[in-house]
């Protein structure tokens, strides 16, 4: 009795599967960007951070236009997920906002490189209906709000830097991220740097025990809360604030200036910090006049020694392309490009990628 139904569904399925095969593009030789040899179809999978997902999906689409036989599948299951999958070898590359810790790196079967791929910022969004003009926050005030010590919007400490704004006498509704996230890691990393008390009492990481406030799920959850509930404050990635037209606070950086989270300010932070040998470093609280204090890199995780030479070469070429041609897509999507002097170091690291004894990137 269910046979007929299964038959129907089976027919639908086979129709669809056929269409799927027809839609596979035929290989086309291209002169411009580095192409993969012998035109064979190559599929790469990657998993990891949600933060760079819009940028990576743009890269994948553009790269596929130039190299139609290379299909890259990146899914944002979270930085931790990315680390776990690349360690288990179920994907070809990983992506993470927070660099891998020592014990995580030890679990990988062989050496993993961190490749800084792009730069993003965590902004403080707020909802103050009566206020026109931008809120200015100092690090002490920010920590006070999130620690629950500063409870109302018209607290004298906030008023001190915002004399021209009419701050209401309402309770501040604090929102934090409940799900584990690189955004939280970057934000708490910054709070920890400016307040040793925060490090001691609350801690730094992807999930912490917040002293006060309400938890929302994901950047979109926090954005939704800030957008719909007046007198709320929350930390989110820059793209969410700018796409939803939420006001972003100006933060006082280490050099003492109030800086808005613009692309230039993000680049200034990256320029001010030296990148070490391992190619990962924290960019928060950078010491430069124009720097925005809550900036961070986002990394790709690639094995130094690729098991499959063909796939390894395809991946190496894609990452090379992303770090050169791919950077021009960053600004429109609210990311900042990798600075030139960091790029040189990264190029050197990419040239070390190999499969067995054979180096993967020759020439280019």
């Amino acid at each position: 009795m269910f046979a007929r139904r299964k038959l129907l569904v089976g027919l639908l399925f086979s129709l669809v599967a056929c269409k799927g095969n027809q839609a596979a593009p035929t290989p086309v030789a291209s002169e411009s960007a580095p192409t993969v040899k012998n035109g064979e179809a190559i599929s790469l999978t990657g998993a990891g951070a949600t933060f760079p997902y819009p940028l990576y999906s743009k890269w994948i689409s553009e790269y596929n236009k130039l190299n139609p036989n290379v299909k890259i599948n990146y899914q944002s299951i979270g930085s931790g997920g990315g680390i776990r999958q690349i360690t288990a070898n179920t994907v070809d590359f990983g992506a993470t906002d927070a660099p891998m810790k020592e014990d995580e790196a030890k679990q990988a079967p062989s050496k993993l490189f961190h490749i800084p791929a792009t730069i993003g910022a965590v902004v403080i969004a707020y909802n103050l209906p009566e206020v026109t003009g931008t809120l200015k926050l100092t690090p002490e005030v920010l920590v006070g709000i999130y620690a629950g010590k500063i409870k109302t919007w018209n607290d004298p400490k906030i008023k001190a830097d915002n004399a021209e704004l009419k701050l209401p006498a309402k309770e501040i509704s604090v929102v934090y991220r409940t799900d584990g996230s690189g955004t939280t890691a970057v934000f708490t990393d910054y709070l920890g740097k400016i307040s040793p008390e925060w490090t001691e009492k609350v801690g730094v990481g992807k999930v912490v025990k917040w002293p006060t406030g309400l938890g929302a799920k994901g950047n979109e959850g926090v954005t939704g809360q800030v957008k719909t509930t007046p007198y709320t404050i929350g930390y989110i990635e820059r793209a969410y604030a700018s796409q939803n037209k939420l006001p972003m606070a100006e933060l006082k950086n280490k050099a003492g200036k109030f800086v808005a989270p613009t692309i230039e300010a993000m680049s200034a932070a990256a320029d001010a910090v030296e990148v070490p040998e391992e190619l990962f470093v924290s960019l928060s609280n950078a010491d430069s006049e124009a720097a925005y204090p809550i900036t961070s890199y986002s990394y790709l995780l690639v094995y130094e020694d690729a098991k499959d030479a063909v796939k390894g070469e395809a991946l190496a070429k894609y990452v090379w392309w992303g770090l050169h041609d791919g950077q021009k897509f960053a600004k429109d999507l609210d990311y900042a490009p990798i600075p030139a002097k960091v790029l040189t170091k990264v190029e050197g690291r990419l040239r070390e990628l190999r499969s067995g004894d054979k180096k993967l990137l020759t020439g280019a």
């Binding site: 139904r5 299964k6 819009p54 899914q75 288990a88 179920t90």
Partner: protein
Amino acid sequence: MLDRYARRKYSDIFVRSACVAATVIALVPLVSVLYYVTSRGIGGISWDFFSELPKPVGESGGGMANALAGSFKLLFLACVFGIPPGVLAGVYLAEFGNSRFGKLVRFSADVMSGVPSITVGIFVYSLVVLRAKHFSAFAGGVALGVLMLPTVTRTTEELLKLVPESLREAALGLGLPKWRATLRVMLRTAAPGIATGVMLAVARVAGETAPLLFTAFSNPFWSSGLNEPTASLPVIIYNYAVSPYEEWHRQAWAAALVLLLLVLLLNVSARLLVRNRVGAR
């Protein structure tokens, strides 16, 4: 004090109105959600939606053809893994289920229906994906099938038990062996109700995201066969809905609308197929 008759009359009226009120209350959120989804999603439905692959942000004209195909594929697999074992297990429970073994099975089904879908996904991940070292539609189908299993089993059992014994006795009296009497007569009579249970299970898994994240993964391109990761509507809805871009939000709502219509379609066709063969009350 009202006399007995009046009391009975009024309590009857009261309960009947309460039932009507309950139905209205149950439908209010549905209308609200439908209105919300439709008003936000209708703008994204276009021919492109059904025929194009997803495009990155900033480029117009992207669609979800691969996610639609993927969802069909996954639901088909889920039905293959979930319905035959589920229905037959339900038959066992209804026919022979009074033993300790039967009680254990029943209990397992009830407990299993309470396992969060993400746990099932993680379980299938360690069983299938880690072994194969890659994500696949097959793994996704297994995860969804496992989710469907308890609902299908319990519904089959409960509805089979309610078929009057007189039907079975008539069949046996006419010379059918026991197994034929059960399958051809009892099961067939209970079929419309079982179809309801099956459709409820399918409707639930059609919208599940968490178990697919670690099994079927997703795919911006077409996926062929069962061994490649595949896109699916719920995963794309989730990915787009949690992104910052208005453009993607619109597509997510459109996809939600399509998903609803898809489940509706499955529901209606399953009902029609089963009713036609049995005859409704």
